[in-house]
């Protein structure tokens, strides 16, 4: 029997140790149980992309899953509308860097984990920054940043050098739904290979409709946003986080709706249309982040087989998952 590491009266690793010290009935062939697996896990360096809804959950789970070196990068600051799910932030933190506040909280709760924040845009970090990590786990809220990172990890992989392979695990949520996926550069399909599955970025209304024949409250709001605002303020970009700007937009949208006899313009709808707001709750982020970190744990320890590519989850009716693993696309512009 192996001797187990024991910390007296503190946070030890007793909850993850059984999975690592013994061979299980479903364990992959070449896995050998033992405390060396725990030590190996401790030495891994992880990069977390995004410290938002998924990011907060990912950091919490990583800190209690044996990961000791975690970097997190996020350029956003904390907004009041984050507080319904991003549980590492409080009202007093509004306006501060998400990455910095999240790391402070994690350090306070879980003592022996090294978390390093980067209050920066992902695209400004150089190749050498990314190369130091054993795994990248992303909880980003936009497709563009995902595509950028996807293309980067594939370009960093030199087929003659196993060490250059960085697995990427990607999570995404919307309302009661979400998905997690495991990408091994050039071994599985990449993010770009299945881009057609990504949700539509934003509903586009034809300009002639919003200008000439508006029928929905959304048409009125988009008209004010796209046509009236630039006319009125040619030198100022509309700022959806500035209450004065939003009030102006809302008032003008109401005027326009009234002129056309259209009902249903509300401040909340106006914000939803111009910011392209996606509904978000803590529980969905919890499900997807847990799935992502569980896969990271399995990928880096080989203690059990990992997810083959993608798990789609849907909870707006009775809960349901659907797993699929498409082929790498031969004509993929990134990995093909």
């Amino acid at each position: 029997m192996f001797k187990r590491q024991k910390m007296i009266n503190g946070r030890d690793e007793s909850s993850i140790t059984p999975a690592l010290i013994s061979q299980g009935p479903f364990t992959i062939e070449d896995f050998e149980g033992g405390l060396q697996n725990l030590e190996q896990l401790h030495s891994k360096k992880i990069l977390v992309l995004g410290a938002g809804g998924l990011g907060c959950e990912i950091l919490k789970n990583m800190a209690l899953s044996g990961f000791k070196h975690i970097d997190v990068i996020d350029m956003d600051t904390i907004d009041i509308s984050n507080l319904n799910r991003q549980f590492l932030f409080r009202t007093k933190d509004i306006g501060k860097s998400k990455a910095i506040v999240a790391c402070e909280f994690i350090r306070k709760r879980v003592k022996d984990v090294n978390v390093t924040p980067h209050f920066a845009k992902i695209q400004t970090m150089g190749d050498d920054f990314f190369k130091q990590f054993d795994l990248i786990i992303s909880g980003l809220d936009n497709i563009e940043a995902r595509r950028w990172v996807n293309s980067l990890v594939i370009s960093l992989y030199d087929v003659n050098d196993d060490d250059s392979l960085i697995p990427m695990i990607d999570g995404g949520t919307e309302g009661f739904r979400g998905q997690s996926r495991v990408i091994f550069p050039r071994l599985t399909a990449c993010y770009e290979c299945t881009l057609s599955l990504a949700p539509a970025v934003k509903t586009q209304y034809p300009v002639c409709t919003i200008a000439n024949t508006p029928r929905l409250p959304e048409h009125c709001i988009e008209y004010v946003n796209l046509i009236e605002w630039p006319k009125q303020f040619p030198d100022k970009k509309f700022d959806a986080d500035n209450p004065d700007d939003v009030t102006w937009l809302y008032d003008r949208s109401l005027d326009r709706a009234k002129q056309f006899n259209i009902s249903g313009v509300t401040r909340s709808l106006a914000l939803g249309v111009v910011k392209n707001i996606i509904p978000a709750i803590a529980s969905t982020n919890a499900i997807i982040a847990a799935s992502c970190v569980n896969e990271a744990f399995k990928v880096l320890t080989s203690c059990n087989p990992n997810l083959e590519y993608c798990m789609q989850y849907s909870g707006d009716n009775e809960p349901f998952t659907f797993n699929f693993a498409p082929e790498q696309q031969a004509d993929c512009p990134i990995c093909g």
């Binding site: 024991k6 709760r109 009661f176 709750i281 997807i288 847990a290 896969e295 059990n304 909870g315």
Partner: protein, 518 residues
């Protein structure tokens, strides 16, 4: 209130202010502040559940600290209920939280018959139920049919979730909506409006202002007049529309509404009917027991039944989709649909008060009921734990089935009951097999090896995986079940969306869930 609207903006888009109000008026009880339990509660405290009460008599162990983010390192040995309550309250100061530092076993012995204690809760969440098997089943029989129970467990890479209720009626189901356009069944005002438009005589300039649903109505009428056939196939009807002179003459102009007309021509063949799910609900309203029959939902269902008998269709939802057209024509059409919906609603209201003068139906409820009458859901739950399907899955050694996870949890429950909350070791495997066979398989034998091989069967593998994990909660499984449990609890508390009915397991090795009804 403005601050709260901003803070909860991202969830209000899912369940609106009425769902939020229901959530904020609710009180949930968590039994056992395990990692899974605290994760579920976190997912309810953040969106602003009204109150929570934790019942838990355990002291914080190293293992708790190892897997529960809501306990702090210095909390070793302290009362778990107290620490978890403070930690969860800190997430959202407007949530009221309290605890009872007694184990559920002791609590039920003292308060077993006091159902008034439980009546204040909207939902009871019971975690690590397999460790408290006797109390869990005692509680189920005490409050089944009164308060829904969410049972949640996680061990190693395995988790399970069960929602125990007698019946749930859901109005705002948010099921995929198909527009209720009544193209085959225009009411008199709509018919008059259509006649007044004189579609066949319109110029291109005028025609492009007309929403396609009106054009479809016109073509449907024309088709029936020409063929005498009331039930055109999609293909025939599409051809009929495409080859009509009116359409042929103006196709070159590529009018947006004509494009939509051709794209959605099949909608001209759909018939306004009563979905079979709704017919079933209408039938069910005949056989209700007395306390239920006076609930607002069932009074409205009875009113709906009379409406259907007299009108042959459901009340109009009043919603129409966006259709390319002029603002003026679209708004006129919208107004017709809204006025008809309003009229139908008044009838339902009248019938409801005929049926029960005492029953108070709020305008908001009436409104939602009529708008969603195509999508109402009535779920029949149960308090059963095993069914034939599960027994067969174990006996046939079905490798693709994850029923073995749930069967193992049930077996663990009996084992812990027999051994004073002790978790089994590898040498206890024969006893576990014996429990499964005698308690759940009617004495039939568990297959020990997989068909034709010398490998263990799926069920034996599952038991061994359970034993090797020593009963540990791993954060990722606890958090996954916590998220799922959170979603299901939110559906129950907001009375919106369709919840699990009734058993689900999570397999973190294969990364998927499976659900079934027992």
């Amino acid at each position: 209130m403005v601050v709260n609207e901003q803070k909860y903006d991202r969830q209000l888009r899912l369940w609106a202010s009425d769902g939020q109000q229901d959530l904020e008026e609710s009180h949930v009880c968590l039994i056992n502040a395990t990692s899974t339990g605290c994760e579920i509660l976190k997912n309810l405290v953040l969106p602003n559940v009204g109150q929570f009460t934790i019942i838990d008599g355990e002291s914080i162990s190293e293992r708790d600290l190892s897997s529960n983010f809501f306990l702090e390192e210095g909390d070793y040995g302290k009362l778990r209920a107290a620490v978890a309550t403070e930690s969860l309250k800190e997430l959202n100061p407007s949530v009221h939280g309290q605890y009872l530092g007694t184990s559920i076993d002791d609590f039920l012995i003292e308060h077993c018959s006091v159902s008034s204690f439980w009546n204040k809760f909207s939902l009871i969440i019971f975690t690590s139920s397999f460790k408290y098997n006797v109390s869990f089943h005692k509680l189920v029989s005490l409050i089944y049919g009164k308060i829904p129970i969410l049972e949640a467990n996680s061990v190693g890479f395995y988790g399970s979730l069960k929602l125990i209720f007698n019946e749930r009626t859901i109005i705002q189901t948010h099921l995929n909506e198909i527009p209720d356009l009544r193209i085959d069944l225009p009411w008199p005002e709509l018919s008059d409006y259509l006649n007044g438009l004189n579609i066949e005589k319109l110029s291109i300039e005028e025609l492009k202002n007309i929403p396609y649903s009106l054009l479809l109505m016109n073509f449907r009428r024309k088709y029936v007049d020409a063929t005498g056939n009331e039930k055109p196939t999609r293909k025939d009807f599409k051809k009929f529309v495409e080859t009509d002179e009116l359409v042929k003459d103006i196709r070159y102009a590529a009018l947006e509404n004509i494009e939509e007309l051709l794209k959605f021509s099949w909608r001209g063949t759909t018939r306004t009917t009563i979905p079979s799910t709704i017919q079933q609900i209408l039938e069910d309203s005949n056989t209700l027991s007395s306390p239920l029959s006076s609930s607002p939902f069932w009074v409205l269902v009875k009113a709906l039944k009379r409406f259907v008998n007299e009108n042959g269709c459901l009340p109009l939802s009043g919603k129409i989709v966006d259709m390319a057209s002029s603002t003026e024509k679209y708004i006129e059409l919208q107004k017709l649909y809204r006025e008809k919906a309003e009229k139908d609603k008044k009838l339902i209201e009248e019938y409801a008060s005929d049926i029960s003068a005492e029953c108070i139906v709020s305008q908001a409820l009436l409104d939602n009921f009529c708008k969603n009458s195509q999508y109402l859901v009535v779920q029949k739950g149960s308090k059963d734990f095993v069914n034939n399907k599960m027994v067969n899955a174990i006996l046939t050694g079905d490798n693709s089935s994850r029923v073995s996870i749930q069967m193992a949890f049930l077996t663990l429950g009996v084992f812990c009951e027999n051994h004073e909350h002790q978790y089994p070791k590898m040498e206890d495997l024969p006893e576990l097999i014996d429990i499964t066979e005698t308690r759940f398989l009617n004495g039939n034998k568990v297959p020990l090896s997989s068909k034709g091989g010398d490998e263990d069967s799926k069920y034996i593998k599952t038991l061994k995986e359970f034993i090797r994990m020593e009963g540990c909660e791993m954060i990722n499984t606890a958090s996954f079940i916590g998220g799922l449990g959170g979603q299901e609890a939110l559906k129950i508390l907001t009375n919106q969306y369709v919840p699990l009915n009734n058993t689900l397991v999570y397999d973190g090795i294969e990364s998927s869930i499976e659900k079934w009804k027992v």
